[in-house]
């Protein structure tokens, strides 16, 4: 009779389980497709931003020989109100046909010497272009008055230009930029999707083992916690690699295409925070998902049993995505983002948008870190008590009570 060497260290067992999860997940079609799709979307988004930004101007306005003098002031005015305009000198008739075929957004046909700028458009004048032209018309009229009064319009303009407003805020201004908002939204979507998908994968994986009874075979050689931890680590690791790849490619694409005006360090910082919060959120939620998944024996029941935990992910995300873009310093979002249950979705969005006080970032991470050991203990207990009980759904209370 041979007695084989059957030593298996606890972490070797965890490693074997984790390794299996990684292999299974990396080879799954769903994983490959979602990763590639996300990458294509991100790079595509960066390209679109590049294309839109590179078009240089938001509108192209035609000027005739008579109105050519307005070209420079129009560009300047447009710049002041935050839009950009290209001008093109054309014949009036050619200009009109270009307006009708859409290659010109508008054609300025009269210089406003009579107090009126006349503009030919196809149907209607775009809002910001209308503003620019209105301001321009005002300036033309003003210049005319200045000249009539014997002044020099250029001198007046330059001294007007030097006038500034001294702003004295009663509260600290919220330092964020449009781009950071977009970054925050992308961060929110990424973390939400990966928590949702990877968390659910832990729950379905636990139930798969339970419903196929393979858990009985596995638990005859390894401990329940080893199986649970191995599963969480394996799936989490793949999710992490996915997040790093997606975040890295996204930032690299944005930097390479030069579509970000915020500093590269801020963009990289966003990705780093994203990874940190993915890890914290994943460990937290997946432990809950593993414990909850162990309560049921059929895949159909996974949705129902994990719903309460999922609610926290969804609520955090929905609040973040609906409130933060318009009001990045919303008090409710600020408070919730420190509470561990909502922090993994809200905090990375806030961090990407910028302006989060250091203490809030530290406290929210600290609270989650403090919660994780409690969750490990709780989840291991529920999991160990419930995972061998097939059939009807195990009550949470029973799973907790049984030693």
């Amino acid at each position: 009779m041979s007695t084989p060497n059957v030593e298996l260290g606890p972490w070797t067992a965890v490693g074997l389980v984790a390794n299996r999860e990684v292999m299974v997940k990396v080879r799954s079609k769903a994983f490959i497709i979602t990763t590639i799709a996300t990458l294509v979307l991100l790079v595509g988004f960066a390209l679109v931003m590049k294309f839109v930004g590179d078009g240089g101007s938001d509108a192209t306005v035609g000027v005739t020989k008579q109105t050519e003098a307005l070209a420079a002031p129009l560009k300047a005015t447009a710049g002041q109100i935050g839009t950009s305009v290209d001008t093109k000198t054309v014949d009036e008739s050619a200009g009109r046909s270009q307006v009708s075929d859409g290659s010109l957004d508008a054609l300025v046909v009269s210089d406003g010497a009579d107090g009126k700028l006349t503009v030919v458009v196809k149907k209607d004048l775009d809002g910001s272009l209308r503003d620019a032209l209105t301001v321009l018309a005002g300036q033309v009229a003003l210049n005319k008055e200045i000249v009539d009064l014997g002044g020099d319009p250029a001198e007046v303009q330059s001294s007007v230009g030097q006038a500034t407003v001294d702003v004295q805020p009663l509260e600290e201004p919220y330092p964020y930029q449009q781009e950071q908002l977009v970054l925050g939204i992308i961060a929110g979507i990424l973390i939400y999707m990966s928590l949702l998908l990877n968390g659910q994968m832990v729950a379905t994986g636990v139930v798969e083992e339970k419903s196929s009874r393979v858990v009985e075979l596995l638990l005859s050689t390894i401990r329940p916690w080893q199986l649970m931890v191995g599963k969480v680590l394996g799936i989490g690791f793949v999710g992490l690699v996915q997040m790093v790849v997606i975040g890295g490619v996204g930032v690299a694409a944005a930097l390479a295409l030069d579509v970000l005006s915020i500093p590269a360090s801020a963009a990289i910082g966003t990705v780093v925070w994203l990874v940190v919060w993915y890890l914290l959120g994943f460990v937290m939620y997946s432990l809950a998902f593993a414990a909850l998944g162990a309560l049921v024996s059929r895949q159909e029941d996974v949705g129902g049993v994990t719903a309460p935990a999922l609610m926290f992910v969804i609520v955090g995300y929905v609040i973040g995505i609906s409130v933060l873009p318009s009001e990045p310093d919303n008090t409710l979002a600020e408070i919730l983002s420190i509470i561990p249950l909502f922090a993994p979705t809200l905090m990375p969005m806030r961090l990407a948008m910028g302006g989060v006080p250091v203490w809030e970032a530290v406290v929210s991470v600290g609270l989650v870190l403090a919660l994780i050991p409690v969750l490990v203990w709780l989840a291991a207990r529920i999991y160990a008590n419930a995972v061998m009980r097939s059939g009807a759904r195990v009550k949470l209370k029973d799973a907790l009570r049984q030693a």
């Binding site: 059957v6 299974v24 196929s212 009985e216 075979l217 050689t221």
Partner: protein, 306 residues
């Protein structure tokens, strides 16, 4: 005592108010094929799960080679759960290597062992297929391979024969007999009593969580009252009445079944039968395991009811 014997010693287990096992005690000797029979819910699976450590007993202990079985020594057990347990969407070969490694084998040894067992069980050509794409019979062969790949020193198989075709039954039987011949204790549960009778050295019958009969098949079959079958075409009803210590339990045409009290003379019965004319059959009736099982199980139920 280091003879590799598996001992189940006074195991009790309750699920709430339900007593699943009550002082269940039996042993499986090294080199022996032990058949574990009992009705559904009698406690077979519970017993096996306790041996495997996937379930904790309320009291009692399981010993192997004289020592209380531990988490580490359990890795020496090859186990086949009642309802098959394999990852449906994992390839046969990878899955078996994984399970072998989970029992502490190196990758190299695991691969060699998987190659050997899949070959021996006739599923080597399905190594690269997902388990779920295999027929039930082949899944069961893979399941058996999963119990064997880590070269176990004890085999515990819950219903290994259920759902197998006759050829697969032969393959499985051969493997179990071979493993027993290698000198390891092999215990399996089954409802196919003819199979158990044919294969096993010893059997144990469990009812309501208690072992009600344990012993060699022959020993169990020869237990109880001695019975005779007599076929005498000319014998009329009542031919055997009056023979001391003999009771007729069944008379069907020419065939009579008689039960003999201890010490009753079977030759007197033969003489009485011959007195009626020709006797075409005269034999001792030994109960099959099936009959024995029915008797043991129903008898106890009546006792319970009383």
């Amino acid at each position: 005592m280091a003879d590799g014997r598996l001992e189940i010693d006074h195991i009790s287990k309750r699920y709430g108010d339900i007593v699943a096992l009550r002082d269940t005690t039996f042993d499986v000797r090294a080199g022996e094929l032990f058949g574990f029979v009992g009705s559904n819910g009698a406690g077979k699976t519970t017993t096996m799960r306790i041996v495997l450590g996937v379930l904790a007993a309320d009291s009692g202990e399981v010993r192997w080679a004289g020592e209380r079985i531990t988490f580490e020594t359990r890795r020496h057990i090859g186990y086949m759960p009642e309802e098959r347990g394999l990852y449906p969407k994992m390839k046969v070969g990878e899955q078996l290597v994984y399970l072998a490694r989970m029992h502490g084998m190196s990758t190299k040894d695991a691969k060699a062992s998987v190659a050997e067992w899949t070959e021996r069980l006739g599923v080597a050509h399905r190594m690269g297929d997902d388990v779920q794409s295999l027929s039930l019979g082949n899944q069961q062969r893979v399941q058996l391979a999963a119990a064997l790949v880590h070269d176990p020193s004890i085999l515990v198989l819950d219903e290994p024969f259920s759902g197998l075709d006759p050829i697969a039954v032969d393959v499985m039987s051969k493997v179990l007999l071979d493993k027993a011949a290698d000198g390891i204790p092999v215990v399996f549960s089954s409802h196919q009593l003819e199979l158990v009778e044919r294969l096993c050295h010893r059997v144990g019958i469990i009812r309501s969580g208690q072992m009600v009969a344990i012993g060699e098949v022959d020993e169990l079959r020869s237990g109880g009252a001695e019975r005779l079958v007599v076929v005498a075409p000319n014998a009329g009803p009542g031919w055997a009445t009056g023979i001391a210590g003999v009771t007729v339990t069944e008379q069907d045409g020419a065939k009579t079944v008689l039960e003999l009290d201890t010490g009753a003379d079977d030759q007197a019965v033969l003489a009485a039968a011959l007195a009626t004319g020709p006797v075409t059959e005269f034999s001792r009736l030994r109960p099959t395991l099936t009959e024995l099982y029915r008797e043991v199980v129903t008898q106890e139920t009546e006792e319970d009811a009383a």
